[in-house]
């Protein structure tokens, strides 16, 4: 593998860990379904599945779909 053999070298001796590079790790939501939410989501899904998307409008100047 193509590795930089000097990576972290200066930081390792005698230190134990590489430099920190802080990155936030957000807690993921756990939102339980309620009947109301389930109903709304079902309607959204049903509409998305059954109502065809409208075609894109046609530009008045170029007469092409935008």
């Amino acid at each position: 593998m193509d590795r930089d053999s000097h990576l972290f070298q200066s930081e390792m001796l005698p230190a134990s860990m590489p430099t920190r590079r802080p990155t936030a790790m957000p807690a993921q939501p756990v939102v339980p379904w309620t009947f109301a939410r389930l109903f709304t989501a079902s309607v959204d899904w049903l509409m998305a599945e059954t109502v065809p998307a409208l075609p894109a409008p046609i530009s008045t100047t170029t007469k092409r779909r935008v």
């Binding site: 000097h6 390792m12 802080p22």
Partner: protein, 664 residues
């Protein structure tokens, strides 16, 4: 319809049809004298449990079919051998045995030396001060034994916030961005360099994959129980995993370790929330792995299993007692998933994985409930009279024998329970190399028979234990996440007696009741009752190391790691022996004060971690004074941690040792 969708629909169809057939049959039997409430409960429990074993059965059928037709179980391309990716191998430890942990790390390090491209992180959450210092010393010794630019790092946290998942999260937040992938290990995990390199190549070539799980084979123990588990995992595991992999495809699961994870995906979507409410159902998520996989999939990432990647190992618990102790934690962790299973946005396969996890711990208590229901049904007087009246004249009721349909149902249940073993055996016997690696045909056949008898006798013990665990969890008695026993050990008799006398007593009492009141039914329940009655000798004998080794001499329960050489495993065992022979004597906590070299190392490592968040120990000055006089015999764990976490205290406590050393 895609292939995988077709397989899933077929699987669902087969599960539903076979369950429906059995439930209908039982319904017809129960309907003869009208369905009362108890019978309805019996029918409902039977439906759930029969459905559950049907899932396992069809999974094994699919697995056997996939294996025998050499189906492609991981339809992913591998990237080129030349990889620019950077991978961190993480070994989270929590008061684990230091010698074993560092020997494992070194064995894996040696195994990947030929490949290169991996950095190693020992992420310690140890709360025992002696373990903490011993780990630091072991890390330094390990570094000294490797080449100077070896990238093996060590980090200790003062507080184990979030347990193992918190430990990994701390790595991801601070150092994760240096890496493309991370491989999570357990303290008793081993992986070969070849397997690790394969996982990297798979991740390189499949940018939508966030996680690839390599199923770990159980190896490395010699007690009878452990050897039986190892054999079962090796002989049956390949078929079961094939079935699972074939059905789940990119909607796989994460089993907590021996998996490679795309760090960026995990950083963005693997952060666990705290559930509202108190433990056992609220608070921190205990069994984090399933949930992390579900979150990754919710965000659109793929999670795969690589069932054909050998070279991934872990050790089984040495005894039934240790196995059930681990089950206690896993049960609580899995039951907690009931709070997550209905979360918005999760994909259906993730919900199924969570449901299967819950069911694997609920099934035993449900079997127990089914048993109680059938007993009540048997002993309670039922409403049917032997004859009825037509006007004033008694009319003989038609005597209907239910033996035949009941026998059919029992046979079907037995087939579903034992057929997965037979299917796996068939797959195993079809591979000459595998047969040789498991000790030959005769050894395999004898082992399968004995394993089946052992599993049958153990099932009622597990059933009672799981039921008791469930009652405790429901009563709100939370469990901690203690260190696991990772040593071969024969259990002392008093421990086994203390734990399993209730099982024996229940077995004896039930047998007497049957003998007195329903002697005809005794034979039906004999295997179940026998398992309970012999639970103490069963647990005691199966914990025997001598018997495990004797069985190996008799070519029983042989696995590839015993019949052949697995280099990474052999290397780890050699290193353990070497380290144990060269073990330093003395109290590691005390050595920080007495040994300038260890003190310098400890102080240097302390510089790199943030100081403890909590207020200093109220008696710290007194503790320093006592440490200075070397009166540390009465120090508690907290006292030691207070002194050893504070550089100034260490300096102050050790200053006098230098002068006292000079005086003497």
């Amino acid at each position: 319809m895609s292939d995988i969708a077709a397989r899933r629909w077929l699987f669902l169809f087969l599960v539903i049809v076979s369950t429906a057939a059995a439930v209908t049959k039982l319904y017809q039997v129960l309907l003869v004298d009208d369905l009362d409430l108890l019978e309805f409960l019996f029918l409902a429990l039977f439906a759930v449990l029969f459905g559950w074993i049907t899932v396992s059965f069809w999974m094994a059928v699919f697995g056997a079919f996939a294996r025998l037709t050499a189906a492609r179980l991981l339809p992913l391309a591998e990237g080129p051998a030349y990889s620019k990716s950077r991978t961190a191998i993480l070994m989270p430890v929590y008061n684990e045995e230091v010698t074993r942990t560092f020997s494992g790390v070194q064995a894996i390090y040696d195994s990947v030396a030929a490949t290169g491209g991996f950095d190693f992180f020992i992420l310690s959450d140890s709360t025992e001060p002696a373990n903490w210092i011993a780990e630091e010393v072991a890390w330094k010794e390990l570094r000294a034994s490797l080449e100077p630019d070896a990238r093996v790092f060590y980090r200790h946290r003062h507080r184990n916030i979030g347990r193992k998942s918190g430990n990994i999260q701390d790595f991801c937040e601070n150092w994760g961005s240096h890496y493309d992938y991370m491989v999570i290990l357990d303290a008793d995990s081993l992986m070969s360099g070849e397997t690790l390199a394969s996982l990297v190549r798979l991740m390189d070539a499949n940018p939508r994959a966030a996680l690839i799980q390599s199923p770990a084979t159980l190896v490395g123990r010699s007690t009878l129980f452990a050897r039986i588990q190892q054999f079962a995992s090796s002989a049956y595991g390949a078929t079961y995993n094939a079935g699972l992999a074939w059905l789940q495809g990119p909607d796989g699961n994460y089993w907590g370790h021996n998996a490679i994870i795309r760090v960026r995906a995990f950083q963005q979507h693997g952060g666990l929330p705290k559930l509202p409410g108190r433990p056992p159902f609220g608070g921190e998520i205990m069994s984090h792995d399933f949930v992390e996989a579900a979150f990754l999939q919710r965000a659109g990432w793929e999670v795969w299993m690589a069932p054909d990647l050998t070279g991934s190992y872990e050790e089984p618990p040495p005894t039934v007692y240790d196995h059930l102790k681990r089950d206690r934690r896993w049960m609580q962790g899995n039951l907690q998933h009931a709070r997550i299973i209905l979360a918005q946005g999760l994909r259906m396969p993730s919900r199924l994985h969570l449901a299967m996890g819950i069911m694997s711990y609920l099934s035993s208590p449900l079997w127990f409930l089914l048993l109680l229901t059938s007993l009540l049904e048997m002993f309670l007087p039922n409403g049917t009279e032997p004859f009825s009246f037509a006007g004033r004249h008694p009319e003989l009721a038609l005597s209907v024998s239910q033996t035949k349909p009941l026998l059919q149902l029992v046979t079907a249940t037995l087939v579903l329970l034992y057929a997965p073993k037979l299917l796996a055996l068939m797959v195993l016997l079809a591979q000459p190399e595998a047969v040789k690696a498991h000790g030959g045909v005769s050894g395999i056949l004898r082992s399968v028979v004995l394993e089946s008898i052992f599993a049958t006798l153990l099932a009622p013990v597990v059933m009672l234990a799981h039921t008791w665990m469930l009652i405790n969890i429901m009563l709100g008695r939370a469990t901690g996440w203690g260190t696991q026993t990772r040593d071969d050990r024969a259990l002392p008799f008093w421990v086994v007696f203390r734990e399993y006398w209730p099982h024996t007593l229940i077995g004896i009492v039930m047998s007497v009741v049957f003998y007195k009141f329903a002697p005809d039914s005794l034979a039906w329940f004999a295997p179940l009752l026998l398992g309970m009655i012999v639970s103490i000798p069963l647990v005691q004998i199966s914990s025997s190391l001598k018997l495990g080794i004797a069985m190996a001499r008799d070519n029983l329960f042989m696995v590839p790691s015993e019949t052949g050489v697995i280099p990474v495993l052999k290397r780890a065992h050699q290193l353990v022996e070497k380290r144990e022979a060269a073990a330093r004597s003395g109290d590691y906590r005390q050595l920080v004060l007495d040994d300038p070299e260890i003190r310098a190392l400890h102080l240097k490592l302390l510089e790199e971690i943030p100081p403890p968040a909590e207020a200093p120990h109220p008696q710290l000055p007194a503790l320093i004074d006592a440490a200075r006089r070397r009166e540390t015999a009465g120090f508690s764990r907290q006292d030691w941690l207070a002194v050893l976490s504070d550089p100034a205290s260490i300096q102050a406590a050790s200053e006098n040792s230098i002068s006292s050393g000079l005086r003497t």
